[in-house]
Structures are given as C-alpha cells and as structure tokens.
Amino acid sequence: MFEPIILLQILWTGIATSAPFVLLTVGFSLTLKVTGLWNFAQSGQMAIAFYTMFFAMNGLGLPLFAAVGLGVVMTAGSAVLIEIYGLQVFRDRQSGNLMFFIFTLILSEFVIYVITLLFGTEPETLYKSILSPVDIIGGIAVSEWDKTGIGLTILALGALYGFMRYTKEGQFLAAVADNAKLAELYGISAQRAYRVVAVISALFIVAAMYLIGSHGGIVPNSPLELVLSAVIGTLLGGIGRVFAAAWASIFLALIQSFSILFIGSRWQNLLLYGFLFATILLFPRGVRMPRLRLALIGR
C-alpha cells in the first residue's frame, strides 16, 4: 500500500487535480488583494464561464477555441460590468463589508437561478465523454487532462508573475493593493486597476472552468462550493499573498489525496475544513510558506 510508485501516483494525481483550484484561488486571492473585497460574485462568473462554453460547444456546435473565446468575452464582460455598475457604486457610497458580502453573494445567486431556469439542474460536461487518454510514464498514469491542467496552470501563473513584475499595469495593481488612496495621489487610477483585476480573474476563472468542466459534471450550484474552496486557499495562504494561496491549494489537494491512505474518502472534505478551522483559530494571519513546507515534509 505504501509502495513508492503508488505514492508517486497519488502525488501526481493530487497535483493535477489541484490545477483548477489553484487557478480559482489565485483569481479570488488577487481580487481580494487589490480590491480588498471577498468577491463572492466570482461564483456567478464561474457559472457564466462554464455554461457559456457548454452552450457554445453543445448548443451551437462551435469549436473549442471559439467556445473559450466566447466564454472569456462573457465572463470578463460580466466581471467588468459588475465592477462598474455594482461594486463601484457601493464604493462611492462607502458601504461596509456586509454590503459587499450581500451584494456579491445575491448577485451570484441571481445568476445561478437564471442558469437553472435555462439549463436545468442535471450535471453537464463540456465534452460528451470525460474520459481522457492516459499514458503510462515511468509507471505512473498520466492523462491528457492532467497535462493540460498542469500546463495551463503553470502558464497562467507564469504570465501573472511576469505581468505583476514587469509591466506598468501590473505594478499599478500592486500600488493600488498596497494603498489605493496613496496610489491615486501618484496618478494611478484605482478604478482602472479594479477593472484590470476583474479581467484577469475572469481569465483564470474561464481556464479553471474549462478544466473542471472537461473532467466532471457541473450543476448550477457547483460554483458556490468552488468559491468556498478558493476562500479556504486564500485564508490558508494568508490574505494578500497570492502565490502563497496557490501553494496552499496545492497543499490542500495533496493532503486530500494522500489522506486516502489513512482515512475513508468521505472524510476528505472534512479534512479541508479541519485545516480551515485550525488556520482560523491558530494562524489568523495565514500560514507562512516555511511552515507550509515543513508541514509537507512532516507528512
């Protein structure tokens, strides 16, 4: 049971499964960092992303690239609209945390009800078959989906890193994240930064929903659970630490995969929340990276 090859297989599958969650967590955490909002409207955007692609491929019969393009347009479009006609309105009114909480959550609920009306509550997938061709590499089963997922995630994170580090726009984001008022004094528009973040997280959401939707069934309600996993990764990584949040969601996925060796599969989700609980009570400011590494090695 503890043979190295099995452990390696679990490690690989765990990492691959974490890919879409990493993408969602990064989108959520980046938004939190720059706008200061726990943007639950992202679950509505997840639903829009998936069902747009689903309809484009299965309803209109469009090829993948067109479906993804349409998904990006719809998701980013809705994100920017929500930003301009929703969040900014409440910012101008100086509304409090709770207002944003209600607004973003109810908006997502609204989107989900509309989608339920249009598409029903049966689980849907992007492709007719969710089986993905498998290669055996060094004794480990590696599916096409695994490769796409990991490749896409590395690409997205690399692009984000480069963007934040080397472009003016990215540095503006960091400045606004640091202190929006101060940034405005230096002529950086916070509103513009918020819109840019809305688009970036929309891209991450589309990528993640493509991965999730080609791997298993989605119902209109699924995004509400997905956004919660992003919340947990964000908390565990530490608020404002986007890449740490990415590591945290990989870590969580691995813990869940490896737990199969020790406990029944139905307890896996509970483990996730166990970590959330412990983080909230013991490390209110987020688990720091070195500690996370130690925890990994300790396993």
Binding site: V89, F90, R93, S95, G96, N97, L98, M99, F101, I102, F103, L105, I106, L107, E109, F110, I112, Y113, V114, T116, L117, G120, T121, L224, L228, V231, I232, L235, R266, W267, N269, L270, L272, Y273, G274, L276, F277, T279, I280, L281, P284
Partner: protein, 287 residues
C-alpha cells in the same frame, strides 16, 4: 390552508432569526455571517435529542438547543474577537462551513441526507394552528425582548460601544464581555428557532444552513432596516411572502423554484441600489 399556515410559521421563524441577527450586527455592530449555524445547532440538538432521548419533553429539548447554541457562540466570539472585530467575519464563515461539513460527515446526524423522523410532538388537526401559535408567540417575544434590551440602559451602553469603543471602555465598561453577551443572546434565540423548526418540519438537512441562508437572513435585516426594532419583521415577511405570490400560477417545480429565486434576488438587488438603509431604516445607518 395548510400551505398558508406553514408559510406563516416559516415567516415567524425567520422573524426570530432576523430580529436576533439584527441585535448582533445592527445593534451590536458585530460582523458575523454565521447566524444560520446557530439555527442549525439548535435544530440538530433538539432533533437529535428528540430522536435519541424520547423521554425528554419537547420544551426541554428546545431549551437545550438554545443552550448549546449559546455555548458555541461564546466559544466562537471569545476566540475570534480577541484577534479583532473584522476577523469575526471570516472566523464565523469558517466556523459555519466547518461545522456543516462535520454534520455532513457524521453518521448520527444523518449526514448530507439530513435528519428525519423527528417526532411530531403535537398530533391531530390542531397541529398547524398550535405550532403557529407557539412560533408566533416566540417571534413576538423575541422582537419585544430585543426592543427592551436596546431601548433601556443596556441599549444605551450598546450604542455607546458601537459608536466609540475606546471611550466606552475608558469609562469603565467591559466591551469584550458585552459583545460576547450580545452575540450569545442573538445566537441563543436563533438556536431556539432551530428547535421549533425541527419539531414542526420533522426534517432538517445541512444544506438549509449554508452561506445562502446567511445571505437570506442578512438580506431580511438590511431590507427591513438594520438597527431598527421592526425592520427584520418587515424584511422577513416581504422576502418570504412575495416570491410565494406566483405559486398560484401552478408552474412546474423545475420552473417555479428558480423563478421564485429570481424574484427574491432581484428584489434584494433593487433594494440594495435604491434603499440601502432599508425600508424602516434611516440613511445615517446604511451599511
């Protein structure tokens, strides 16, 4: 008729939830979203006791449900408020999600399928009206108890604490214990509502107490007018009754449920834009 009685009972239960939540966030200024989990704690405690310890009278079960909710709320507030007031928001969310997950995974709670076969306690044709009388009385009592709390000297202290916590503390008041007390009173009432709910519907499941329920209760409070004694009453009636107005259309369930949801959410969104202080609220207290 049964349908109307059930709706009225549901409204009364949500009046309790809304009013007690209003005490916590509207008057106490404590940001939490976890109110449904205390509703759940009351419901599950009462439900489990009634199923497993049938010799206990219903009233005792409901009271024990309240006590459990109070204990849990004191633990949560006691640890989270020590970090900071804002932290309570996140901690409460984590507490809610974690506990629900636990309920879903344990066997004796009935797991994700929920806890069923809760004894009906009151039998016969009078069951509905009797429950309505009990729940209605409890709701009225809650609203007026809260009003008494916030109108008297205690309420003066609460608003002073919310306005200027530092000055309040420097006048010799223990803000921390006051916050915990407010939180415990509000959560205990929610626990009591849970107990009544379990007895009337005889079935509870974890997904009734998810974040969506948080948003629903919060919305009732905001819509009615946060920090006003009767705001949550108006909010609960409005948000539960208006979506029901289309039931006469006899739509198939697959269309009915999401349509009601759309009516509910659109109503909320419109209010958030047009009247953020709520129906009975004054503009100065908009969140």
């Amino acid at each position: 008729m049964d349908y109307l009685i059930t709706l009225a009972i549901l409204i009364a239960i949500y009046v309790i939830l809304g009013a007690s939540y209003n005490l916590v966030i509207g008057y106490g200024g404590l940001s939490t979203v976890a109110h449904p989990i205390f509703f759940a704690i009351g419901a599950y405690t009462t439900g489990l006791l009634s199923v497993n310890v049938p010799e206990l009278p219903a009233v005792v079960n409901v009271l024990l449900g309240m006590v459990t909710a109070v204990v849990a709320s004191v633990l949560l507030a006691g640890s989270a408020l020590r970090v900071s007031g804002d932290y309570l928001l996140i901690a409460s969310l984590g507490f809610q999600l974690g506990l629900l997950q636990l309920i879903k995974n344990l066997d004796f709670t009935g797991g994700p399928g929920g806890l069923s076969a809760i004894p009906s306690t009151i039998l016969g044709a009078a069951r509905g009206p009797a429950f309505l009388a009990i729940t209605g009385a409890a709701a009225v009592a809650c609203v007026f108890i809260i009003r008494a709390i916030v109108n008297g000297p205690y309420g003066r202290a609460i608003s002073a604490m919310r306005d200027e916590e530092l000055a309040f503390t420097a006048l010799g008041r223990n803000a921390m214990s006051m916050k915990i007390a407010i939180f415990a009173i509000g959560c205990g009432m929610a626990g009591g509502a849970g107990g009544i709910y379990a007895y009337y519907f005889q079935y509870i499941s974890p997904d009734q107490f998810e974040v969506l329920a948080s948003a629903t209760i919060l919305t009732m409070v905001v819509l009615g007018g946060m920090g006003t004694p009767f705001g949550p009453v108006v909010g609960a009636i409005l948000l539960l009754a208006i979506p029901q107005a289309i039931t006469f259309l006899q739509l198939p369930p697959a269309i009915m449920a999401p349509t009601q949801g759309i009516i509910f959410t659109v109503l909320v969104l419109v209010f958030l834009y047009l009247r953020p202080a709520g129906i009975l609220g004054n503009k100065a207290r908009a969140i």
